[in-house]
Symmetry: C2
Subunit: 182 residues, 2 copies
């Protein structure tokens, strides 16, 4: 990946996360990254769509290496899931940061990035299900609990932001930790 591209990626990601796809204009991207249109189109010849596509691939890659793989490789499955909660809580800054994949799911442009979005949640649910099974859960119970965990995280993010109260997210994660060990 080029130097320019990788340097501007975090600011670009935060732009899409904060404003959504439609709300992120090139002018806003320029303000956030410090790069003019010339530089942006040099790095992303296909324009705004490609910018978001690269951002989504980067997010998925981060979760694959930082969350999914450690979960898959954890010697102790329950401890691995606890670390997943740690990483998730840190990533979403205790509910102050929205989930871009979740945000995109709500509106129409979901269709254009459906593959990225589906892959992200599908992988997460699958590796979490496997780990729950390793922890002794029955197969279909594991699948549904994994589904419940992902939905709870997404809902906690929404409600925390809606009511402007990060404690909602923290309590949700604590509840899920407790459910895991009871």
């Amino acid at each position: 990946m080029s130097n320019t591209l990788s340097k501007c990626l975090p600011a670009l990601t935060e732009c899409f996360r904060e404003y959504g796809y439609e709300g992120t204009s090139l002018a806003r991207i320029t303000a956030a990254t410090g790069l003019g249109k010339g530089s942006l189109y040099n790095a992303f010849p296909e324009g705004k769509d490609q910018m978001l596509a690269v951002v989504l691939e980067e997010i998925t890659l981060w979760f694959e290496t930082q969350v999914f793989a450690p979960l898959q490789l954890a010697d102790e499955p329950v401890a691995g899931i606890m670390e997943m909660f740690d990483a998730t809580s840190a990533y979403f800054k205790s509910g102050k940061r929205a989930c871009l994949m979740g945000t995109l799911s709500a509106t129409q442009c979901r269709d254009r990035f459906a593959n990225h979005i589906k892959s992200y949640f599908f992988q997460w649910q699958q590796v979490l299900t496997d780990t729950l099974i390793r922890a002794g859960w029955e197969n279909s119970q594991a699948k549904f609990f994994a589904e419940e965990i992902l939905a709870s995280i997404q809902g906690a993010l929404t409600l925390s932001r809606a009511l402007d109260d990060p404690a909602i997210f923290d309590r949700t994660i604590e509840r899920l930790r407790h459910r895991l060990t009871e």
Copy 2:
């Protein structure tokens, strides 16, 4: 409320729900409602902001009369909550329909409509908490379970749309019903 305004409100609501605030252009609203700009600005002199504000007020009013009030007035609290799940499931078309309040919470324009959004979720949590207490739940347990129910609904909507699987929403509602009676 004027005749024109009330006639176009459902189409207007679906527009904002489907495309979000930034993604809803006046051209799209014209296509959805059949009303030109002249008519729209006659009904909403303050423009697009006012259109969304009126839509949010209408949504809150609907929940107040169709969900919150029946819950508050229910003779049997548990049965009342079950009816709340029925109404919620019907309203969100088993997860195929997004929650506009939740959608708006994700991005920046949340700030502009923060009062509408906060009021919606705050009222819902409060009346649900009261009803759980009437059903015999301890005060703080009731508050947290109400919080968990709202977050679960929002998260189930997000995950159902993300994975394009309405069954996720239905299972979530069923799990919540079960938690209520165990």
